[in-house]
């Protein structure tokens, strides 16, 4: 317990977290501080490329073990199942109608890659390693949740929401393609490839993450200021409870697969996190009637900060306790 608190405290005063806090505070104070859209996208391309590449190199280094395929399957299964859990919980806890509940649920089945990145950097800080293929698991978990949520809606007799265009858009979503592509490049070029570009993708990584989180803080803060009103207490509570439930699913999967401490922790982080890029875009196409303020504010303004500050150290402590025990 004490260990968790120390970890959480040292996590809280890292430049990464404080940059996010700065962004939130600036937005709430209505400062005109803002990161240009192009710069934010550029940083996200950098982060996805770097994290995918490093994962691939680590797979090239340690070789593929049989757990890779199983972990991918487990990730996909989690992404399919978690929205159903989330949907049920939302219908219980909040007054959201089917459409809004399904849209929110899709976000919680999918993943937030920045939460994953923050998790890996916390592992690094703690001197732990995780399976390199967890990056591929992250990519695999992005999309299935969307299908799950649309299935929940279509069960309600609300017509077909999916067509082949949307399916292609979801599968070849930019962040999935970049993450998987960089992962494969890392696998193919291995340590030799990394040596060529590590002063670009390794050394400045934490710093870029700071500025990216500053921007996420600004966007989250703006969202809270403008859309915070839609978050009734029940919904708010869901934004903190659901990650914990997700983390339990992730814990079970990670331990069942026999992953390392780091791997279990990342599986928990993925399951606990909620999408704020791929899923919102898909929801605007497929469920335009659902209110974006709800799912965006909840995912980015509540669950993301919760995971970033308290969730991640907690998941690490639990993963450490369970895998060592």
């Amino acid at each position: 317990m004490e260990q968790i608190l120390t970890l959480a405290a040292s996590n809280l005063i890292s430049p990464i977290i404080l940059s996010f806090v700065l962004g939130v505070v600036a937005a709430l104070a209505r400062s005109d501080l803002s990161v240009p859209e192009a710069v934010a996208k550029g940083m996200s391309i950098y982060l996805l490329f770097a994290i995918g590449f490093k994962g691939g190199v680590s797979v090239a280094d340690y070789g593929v073990d049989g757990r890779l395929a199983l972990s991918l399957l487990a990730g996909i299964a989690l992404s399919f199942v978690l929205p159903i859990v989330a949907f049920g919980l939302l219908r219980l806890m909040s007054g959201l109608d089917r459409l809004d509940a399904a849209a929110v649920a899709a976000h919680y089945g999918s993943i937030s890659i920045v939460t994953f990145v923050a998790g890996t950097s916390m592992l690094e800080g703690a001197g732990l390693e995780a399976e390199g293929y967890m990056v591929a698991v992250a990519a695999a978990m992005e999309a299935p949740a969307i299908l799950s949520a649309l299935w929940l809606i279509s069960r309600g007799g609300d017509g077909r929401r999916m067509d082949s265009d949307l399916m292609r858009e979801i599968m070849f979503n930019g962040s999935i393609v970049l993450l998987v592509g960089a992962f494969l490049i890392g696998c193919a070029t291995g340590q030799e490839g990394l040596d060529k570009i590590d002063s670009f993708i390794v050394a400045p990584f934490q710093g870029v993450l700071c500025l990216f989180l500053l921007d996420m803080g600004l966007v989250a803060g703006r969202g809270l200021r403008q859309g915070g009103g839609v978050l009734k207490p029940g919904i708010l509570l869901f934004g903190v409870v659901m990650p914990l439930i997700g983390a339990c699913f992730g814990l079970a999967a990670g331990v069942g697969l026999g992953l390392s401490t780091g791997g279990v922790m990342l599986m928990m982080a993925l399951s606990a996190s909620a999408s704020y890029i791929a899923v919102p875009a898909a929801m605007r196409v497929a469920l335009p009637e659902a209110n974006p303020s709800i799912y965006l504010t909840l995912s980015l303004g509540v669950t993301f900060p919760f995971n970033l500050t308290l969730g991640l150290p907690l998941y690490l402590a639990i993963a450490a306790a369970v895998t060592r025990g």
Binding site: S34, V35, P36, E37, A40, K41, S44, D165, D215, M216, L218, V219, R222, Q226, G227, Y276, I277, A278, P280, A281, M283, R284, V285, P288, E289, N291, P292, S293, L296
Partner: protein, 103 residues
């Protein structure tokens, strides 16, 4: 100079719907269109801004299309189902063009 009557259709629509709208427009025999960025705005569903956004979920664009007046109704009929359930605005105005054969 000689000018010719035409219609200017401007649709402000979510970025995720852009290709669906332009597909529908091409379906309606439109010979050309341009896409303009929109930085932000406000409407019944609240205010939004492009700043710092990474995903396409929250952005909007303006699709502008100059067409011959007789193609207007077909265009609106084909485009309407795309915009119907989505937030956004469709505005049509009169204009004059050079080189009428292009539209």
């Amino acid at each position: 100079m000689e000018t010719h009557k035409a219609k200017r259709v401007a649709v402000i629509i979510e970025a995720v719907m852009q290709s669906r709208l332009t597909d529908a427009m091409e379906d309606a025999g439109v010979t050309g269109y341009s896409v303009l960025p929109v930085l932000g705005g406000s409407g019944r569903s609240g205010a939004w801004s492009r700043e710092g956004q990474v995903g396409r979920g929250q952005g909007m664009v303006q699709v502008v299309c100059i067409i011959a007046a007789d193609k207007l109704d077909d265009l609106l009929t084909k485009a309407f189902p795309v915009v119907e359930k989505h937030i956004g605005v469709v505005a049509v105005s009169d204009c004059e063009v050079l080189r009428a054969e292009r539209f």
